[in-house]
């Protein structure tokens, strides 16, 4: 006998449940957590290092570095800046997922931290779908990538709570229509927190740091 069974279950529901467990663990330790996503080279590590520099006097920050290959370049930079870092090698997967973060949470000294920052694998296709359980998802776009990215990768812009536009020091040299970019972001994610900044000149960093502190204090 043949019959149809209605299922209606989200394909990534198992990951979502693990993400909830991660969140519980992070909250229990009293840590505020951020998942940073961007295309390769947008400036994730640069933003993390400058954020550490700004918050170092008052906060302890742990970093989880996701990479597709077993290279510890980014994690080493964080440790050189005097903060604990854990490297996750995804073994070729194009994103971190909740179970990978679960492993890292057991390694990081969570109880000593105020903030945890996850540097996701550089990729605009899918990381937003694989929730990690962090308090916020932040997308870093950068000026050289072009102003059309919200239009080409709507899924990424839908899944975040803040957008950083990095490398604004390059605006004089690159054709980048700020209105067009912002309109795309606004259409996909109305009222989203937006921080144009430069890791080179430091311009715009104050607003990002102020927002972060405000969120962490909530």
């Amino acid at each position: 006998m043949s019959q149809t069974i209605t299922v209606v279950e989200k394909i990534l529901s198992a990951n979502d449940r693990l993400a909830e467990q991660n969140r519980a663990k992070i909250e229990e330790a009293g840590v505020y957590s951020i998942n940073i996503m961007a295309s390769p080279g947008a400036g994730k590590t640069s933003v993390i290092l400058k954020t550490i520099e700004a918050l170092k006097p008052e906060m302890q920050i742990g970093v989880v570095e996701g990479d597709t290959a077993p290279v510890t370049i980014d994690a080493d930079k964080v440790m050189d800046a005097g903060m604990p870092a854990v490297q996750i090698n995804t073994g070729g997967e194009c994103h971190l997922d909740a179970i990978m973060l679960q492993g890292a949470l057991n390694t990081l000294p969570l109880d000593t931290l105020d903030v945890m920052i996850v540097e996701n694998v550089g990729n605009l296709i899918c990381p937003a779908n694989f929730k990690l359980g962090t308090h916020v998802n932040v997308l870093i776009a950068s000026v050289p990538e072009g102003d059309d990215k919200p239009y080409k990768y709507p899924g990424m812009y839908r899944g975040v709570q803040a957008v950083i536009l990095n490398k604004t020091d390059l605006l004089p040299y690159i054709k980048f229509n700020m209105d067009y970019f912002r309109k795309g972001v606004e259409a996909l994610n109305p009222g989203l927190a937006f921080f144009p900044l430069s890791c080179v000149t430091g311009e715009g960093f104050d607003a990002w740091i102020a927002w972060l502190k405000e969120q962490a204090a909530k």
Binding site: M1, Q3, A14, N129
Partner: protein, 118 residues
């Protein structure tokens, strides 16, 4: 490359639903994939053939229903399917939009075979 974990999830969800009905076999799996959700390509079928081997779902056919994104303009009530270049409302240019569909990513239903009920 995220098709492997996605395929594993589809298999796990389908097997759980089938076992709850004492199925002998799963013959078909119906998936809803929105245009704005995770991109999945044909390699799913490849992973499927390998992963489902020896399970109730061996040989099941995967049916993908691709759902095009449908946006509703909150200013002029026009509804439309956006394309890469045309995201904002083509009627009035508004960026105040509601995503009506296109973000689905789910196992919708399965077709199973059971022994005749006694």
């Amino acid at each position: 490359m995220h098709e492997l974990p996605v395929t594993e999830s589809i298999l796990e969800i389908s097997l759980r639903a089938a076992q709850a009905q004492n199925a002998r076999r799963i013959s078909d799996i119906y998936l809803k994939i929105g245009q704005w959700s995770t991109i999945v390509d044909d390699s799913i079928q490849f992973y499927w053939d390998t992963l489902s081997e020896g399970t109730l779902a061996q040989g099941a056919t995967l049916h993908f229903e691709r759902i095009p994104t449908l946006l509703l303009c909150l200013d002029c009530a026009h509804s439309y399917h956006p394309t890469g270049e045309q995201l904002l409302c083509p009627q009035c240019g508004s960026a105040r939009l509601h995503v009506h569909q296109g973000e689905e990513f789910q196992v919708e239903s399965i077709e199973i075979e059971t022994d005749e009920s006694p």
